[in-house]
């Protein structure tokens, strides 16, 4: 745990990466976060490709940034990546917005701001050593130093957007809207801002709307227009019956009517018989 001046923990940070050899697969340097909350998004994003997840419940936030390409290569020559997992309280989120802004900038541009900063702090010998000795952990402190050294994020002009939306990463206004939302979450508003690279259409993110917190999603290679995501039917309101159900209901209704008709006919016949026989 990192500590602020008065000793209270403020931001906790963890770094995941791999070593060069085949045996040194992706693992956290130092302590792994207790709750791997990002795995819920496994069907929405490839973590090996650029991903950003930011959650806030109004008081605390948690952030996950992955796909950050290191200059290091593994034994078969492929690029090794970094993942950063951070969490903290709203009061102390300052450098995190700068980090998200810088990572977004790197993803769409040719910059290596975040990757270079991580490579500078976690060079190859260091990474190999930390992977071999997970207990040796000054990782968090180094990440926090790195964060404070990042250039401040761009200032984004406020613009109106729907509470829940999906937009594509390639549109500059979409990135601005994302950063605006991220800033609000880090300021203590409940909600989610997610860059998910496997989302192909608004229907794909529908399940995420079950969570009442606002939802801002950046996808990749989508239509350039902003899509306002509709919240589903409010709880309590029954959904319209499906075709199958409707058909079954109709059949049941018909059966009931036939039954009533038979009863009526029998009744009339019985009564008629009684009267006739009299």
């Amino acid at each position: 745990m990192a500590a602020s001046g008065n000793g209270d923990p403020v931001i906790s940070a963890a770094v995941q990466t791999r070593g060069r050899t085949r045996g040194a697969d992706y693992a956290f340097l130092g302590e792994a976060p207790e709750n791997p909350w990002w795995r819920t998004y496994g069907g929405y994003t490839t973590f090996e490709h650029p991903t950003i997840l930011l959650h806030s419940d109004g008081e605390c936030w948690e952030a996950f940034l992955s796909g950050i390409p290191s200059r290091r290569r593994d034994a078969v020559g492929t690029t090794i990546r970094f993942t950063l997992v951070l969490s903290g309280s709203a009061a102390e989120a300052g450098p995190v917005l700068a980090l998200i802004g810088a990572w977004l900038g790197d993803i769409v541009g040719t910059g290596h701001v975040v990757a270079d900063a991580l490579d500078a702090v976690f060079g190859e010998p260091d990474v190999e050593r930390l992977l071999a000795n997970p207990d040796d952990s000054d990782v968090e402190g180094r990440v926090l130093d790195l964060l404070t050294a990042l250039p401040p994020g761009p200032t984004v002009a406020a613009a109106a957007s729907p509470p829940d939306w999906l937009w594509t990463l390639e549109v500059p206004e979409a990135r601005d809207a994302f950063l605006l939302q991220a800033g609000e979450l880090l300021d203590g508003h409940a909600g989610r801002a997610l860059l998910l690279n496997l989302v192909g259409s608004p229907t794909d993110v529908e399940p995420l709307l079950r969570d009442p917190r606002t939802l801002a999603v950046l996808g990749t290679d989508l239509d350039p227009a902003l899509v306002a995501l509709p919240r589903g039917t409010p709880p309590g309101k029954a959904p319209a019956p499906s075709r199958g159900t409707a058909r079954r209901l109709r059949t049941e209704l018909r059966a009931a009517m036939v039954l009533v008709a038979i009863l009526v006919v029998t009744l009339v016949a019985t009564l008629g018989g009684l009267i006739w026989n009299r």
Binding site: R22, G23, G42, R73, V199
Partner: protein
């Protein structure tokens, strides 16, 4: 996303970090789409995520083939598990066969390298449920070894002990299900340079086969004793195809000079376009496995007919529906027909034709002669 009435066919991968699991999965899925072209059955991704994941891999691969040299930069290792969802789709709702292939970081399957917090339990459960297990094998490690030291480190690079452990516990599970067919496939990958049937000019295929037998004899020999109803197949696959090994290096590990790390360089063969080879053999073997499963149920049903008419149902209970589902799907799907009969008559006939087409195509693929690379043990 998963329709519960659909037949789910699970395929598990077993291999260490960087061996070629993800590449093999994507090659199988692309190969499957190719194999079914021109038939009424399609192999489709279920949902955007599988579709986009395949697209990402394809782009990464194409990028790595540019400039005449194979630079696998973007084809990085897997960090979290990912389930590929596909549908063998005859175009009729609820009538297809769903294929699920689980991918995970190779470091997870070795208890020694498994990082804390790895989601291995779920992967293990999936592997247990899988009726097919695929073991990708890095052919270059086997074929480029030239000294006794190389031979000594080979098993640790390929993690043969851990592969053996996982396969054996899968066999134990298969033993508990003697009526359910099982299929174990050993698939050498990165083997373009050792065959002369896909643009290469050298045929070292016998040597590769000998090496695989030698290194994996534990696994191969365990099958008849542990679960004799499991079939073992050898199916080498070129997942890239258009590359050729140009150099191999065995370098001492910095932390442990007694062990060696292996790396290889590849050049790109013109025209530098991916040329998958061997994936169709794997898919045909999967179809044969499905047809085999159906035949077993039919035989069981026939022999027990005198005693009871509900054998298939009892099988279904015993085997979580796998058998009955196969029976339904590949028998022309009577249950589906009944449901369809409620609908317009013409549509039902059309749907029935399509479902029959799925059966016919699976049977056709199952009956094709395997390619020259395949061996059965």
């Amino acid at each position: 996303m998963t329709d519960t009435s659909r037949l789910v066919y699970r395929i598990g991968m077993v291999g260490p970090s960087r061996v070629g699991k993800t590449s093999l999965i994507t090659a199988l899925l692309r190969g499957g789409q190719h194999l079914l072209e021109g038939t009424p059955v399609a192999m489709k991704a279920i949902g955007s995520s599988t579709q986009k994941r395949l697209g990402q891999h394809r782009r990464d691969l194409e990028g790595s083939l540019l400039a005449g040299k194979f630079r696998p930069g973007a084809l990085g290792g897997t960090q979290e598990k990912f389930l590929f969802h596909l549908l063998l789709d005859p175009g009729v709702p609820d009538a297809g066969i769903e294929l699920q292939l689980l991918d995970y970081p190779g470091g997870w399957f070795d208890p020694v390298t498994r990082p804390p917090g790895a989601d291995w339990e779920e992967c293990e459960h999936f592997l247990e449920q899988s009726s097919v297990l695929i073991v990708p094998i890095d052919a270059a490690v086997l074929m480029e070894a030239t000294s006794a030291t190389h031979l000594r480190v080979m098993p640790s690079i390929l993690a043969t002990t851990q592969v053996g452990d996982v396969v054996r516990s899968w066999l134990t599970e298969r033993k508990r299900r003697p009526d359910e067919p099982g299929l174990l496939m050993l698939c050498p990958v990165k083997c373009e340079s050792y065959f002369d049937d896909n643009g290469g000019d050298r045929d070292d295929s016998e040597e590769l086969l000998t090496w695989v037998r030698r290194l994996y004899h534990d696994v191969i020999d365990a099958v008849p004793g542990e679960a004799p109803h499991v079939r073992t197949l050898y199916c080498p696959v070129d997942t890239i195809g258009c590359v050729e090994i140009t150099g191999a290096e065995w370098t001492p590990e910095p932390g442990d000079p007694a062990t060696l790390a292996f790396s290889a360089e590849y050049g790109v063969r013109p025209p530098g376009r991916q040329a998958i080879k061997g994936a169709d053999d794997v898919l045909m073997a999967l179809c044969r496995h499905l047809v085999g499963a159906r035949q077993r149920v039919e035989e069981a049903v026939a022999t027990e007919k005198g005693r009871t008419a509900t054998t298939a149902e009892r099988y279904a209970e015993r085997h979580e529906g796998f058998f009955l589902d196969i029976w339904y799907v590949l028998n022309g799907e009577r249950r589906y027909r009944r449901e369809a009969a409620e609908d317009v008559r013409g549509a039902a006939v059309e749907a029935d034709k399509r479902v029959t087409a799925l059966t016919e195509i699976i049977e056709d693929l199952a009956s094709r002669r395997p390619g020259g690379r395949v061996r059965q043990w």
